[in-house]
């Protein structure tokens, strides 16, 4: 029996279904992220767990107890809001202490617990400050300390890092994970940032238009996206439309604009329309007219640790990412060959949802 369990949770606003039939089990101590574009229902799902939104159907169980209709202030969950929602008229200490006060923890016990929580987020010297005297990162930590100090069964994080600048966000990601590991609190985080979700979650739940489309470990979601939407949304990807020309028990050959490409997917049938999905870092540049196809460097971008190439070829523009190993990069306009291993190609059945403007599809 899992610790936090959502069963067929649905939220309708009039004719609009914000969240449809969401089922999710979270184990004790697990860090799960709800990932999806804005408007996919991830925040509504979190608010239903928190008790701010009442589900239209379904049940939520926490540690075996049905909390579907329980009031928000009786659930005892720790929540970090997107805006942090600190109490601006209270000091950092009073902010953190508020939850304990509401739980009627004795005054003598409150002080050491608040101090412990503040030292956990490295804010001990700031206890007497007011929130507006703190930086964004510090406010974020106060919000985290305030949520953790009540020792909640589940910690809910609503886009906790979205208001921080890029560098701080990265640092906080690791810190958040470290703190979560140390405290061992079951955590559900909502985010639209796949890098954030991948780097710190045990499991990622991808949501799309109010529904869950895939629940898996971050690595599995990246390597084996179950839908074309996920492969687009998660990381950069090259999507190539093709037709199956031969199919055997062990694999198949797909024709991309006349070029035969081997894939390892077994149960395809000849004549079927498919979309091949290849991550840019799985493509390798080779000498011209070797490899699987030949193209020309249309553009190249230096990303520091990597080079990003746009290669014009017979199948359209492909994105290729190569590590910057110090060697001279391919020049703009230079002809190059492209090769990849058949095992890295993911095959989605059916035609692509949109025009194959993959070069512009830079998500995340």
């Amino acid at each position: 029996m899992s610790f936090l369990e959502l069963k067929n949770i649905t939220k309708r606003y009039g004719p609009l279904t914000a969240v449809g039939d969401v089922s999710l089990s979270v184990e004790k101590g697990e860090f799960v992220s709800l990932l999806g574009p804005s408007g996919c229902g991830k925040t509504t799902t979190l608010q239903m767990i928190a008790g701010f939104v009442e589900p239209s159907a379904g049940t939520i169980r926490l540690d075996g107890r049905d909390i579907t209709r329980a009031k928000a202030n009786s659930r005892g969950l720790g929540i970090v809001f997107q805006s942090y929602a600190l109490f601006p008229h209270m000091t950092v200490f009073d902010n953190v202490s508020f939850g304990l006060e509401m739980q009627r923890v004795a005054r003598g016990e409150r002080k050491p617990r608040v101090e412990e929580a503040l030292s956990l987020v490295h804010l001990s010297p700031y206890a007497k400050r007011y929130p507006r005297e703190l930086s964004g990162g510090q406010r974020q930590r106060v919000a985290l300390a305030r949520a953790l100090v009540i020792r909640p069964p589940v910690l809910l994080l609503d886009e906790p890092l979205s208001n921080l600048d890029a560098k701080l966000r990265e640092a906080m990601q690791f810190e958040l994970r470290e703190i979560q590991r140390k405290v061992g609190t079951t955590t559900v985080m909502v985010t639209h940032d796949q890098a954030e979700a991948f780097s710190i979650s045990d499991r990622v739940v991808v949501m799309e238009a109010g529904r869950i489309t895939q629940i898996d470990q971050p690595y599995r979601i990246y390597e084996h996206p179950e839908t074309e939407f996920i492969s687009r949304f998660v990381g950069k990807t090259n999507l190539l439309p093709g037709k199956v020309v031969t199919a055997t028990g062990a694999g198949a050959t797909v024709s991309l604009a006349g070029i035969a490409v081997p894939v390892e997917t077994a149960d395809l049938s000849v004549g079927e329309t498919v979309t091949l999905c290849i991550r840019p870092e799985k493509l390798h540049l080779t000498a011209p007219s070797s490899g699987l196809l030949t193209g020309r460097v249309a553009d190249r971008f230096f990303l520091g640790s990597q080079w990003l190439y746009h290669i014009d070829g017979p199948v359209g523009t492909l994105m290729v990412v190569t590590p910057n190993d110090g060697s001279t990069p391919a020049e703009q306009g230079a002809p190059v060959g492209l090769e990849w291993s058949p095992s890295v190609v993911r095959v989605h059945r059916g035609a692509m949802a949109e025009a194959p403007d993959v070069a512009l599809e830079v998500t995340g």
Binding site: L77, F81, F87
Partner: protein, 301 residues
Amino acid sequence: MSAALPETAPAAPGDETPERRFPTAPLFLSGPAALLFAALVLTPLFLTALLSFNQFDYATGRTGGFTLEHYLSVVTDEYYLEIFLRTFRISALATAICVVIGVPEAYILSRMTNPWRSIFLLVILAPLLVSVVVRAFGWSMLLGPEGPVNGALIALGIGRMKLLYTEGTVVVALVHVMLPFMVIPVWTSLQKLDPAVEQAALSFGASRATAIVRVVAPQILPGILSGSLIVFGLSASAFAIPGLLGGRRLKMVATVVYDQYLSDLNWPMGAAVAVILLAANLIIMLTYHRMVEGHYRRRLG
């Protein structure tokens, strides 16, 4: 910096250096408003203050010279003292009632969803569209000896009560007139409130009442402060309501000023009372502002 220098250098020789030139733009921009303010507010105020030091001759009605007798008589005369005390008592009471009614009203308003919120905001503001004099007459018809309220009281067997020309009636009517001036600043500061802050309080186990008292109320204190200053200031200098509902005997400072000017024709006396009212009002409001503001300045900025 260095790139900009050659450009400015040719223009400089004949002209004054930018450091020494007097900045004229702020003066031009603030000028019209300052002139208007000086002409319409400061000048009459200054003339009133001057007038209050003039002597007044009852026989000829002439004014002139210099005297402090009006101020002395206002300060020493119990009649005036009572009127001042009554004015501030009524204003304070009206302000307190406006806080008690207006703050929850604004809170409820801010929690409404849109068709209703707009409708109720309009309902709250609508009284401002009707002249205070008309509203005062409305109250006097309602509360008069033959009015519907007394009619109801008689029908209920309680009997006729004297409602008009009492302090209570003046307070009630002032609250009615002043309420929008409390609701609007409070509503504005509620609009600026992050709704998640209240949710946060709830999520930590606070009851709704605790969340409002501990988390919402302290944050809308600036709104309550400005609302009470407006209500108190307007009530203390209110004229139509006490004039029409207080009758001849229940006088407030503004009605006394009116009497001095138009019945006694003692303009200097009226001016002195007006100046004292202004000074007292200022002192009370500044003290109050300081007291409340000191509380939240560091916290809310």
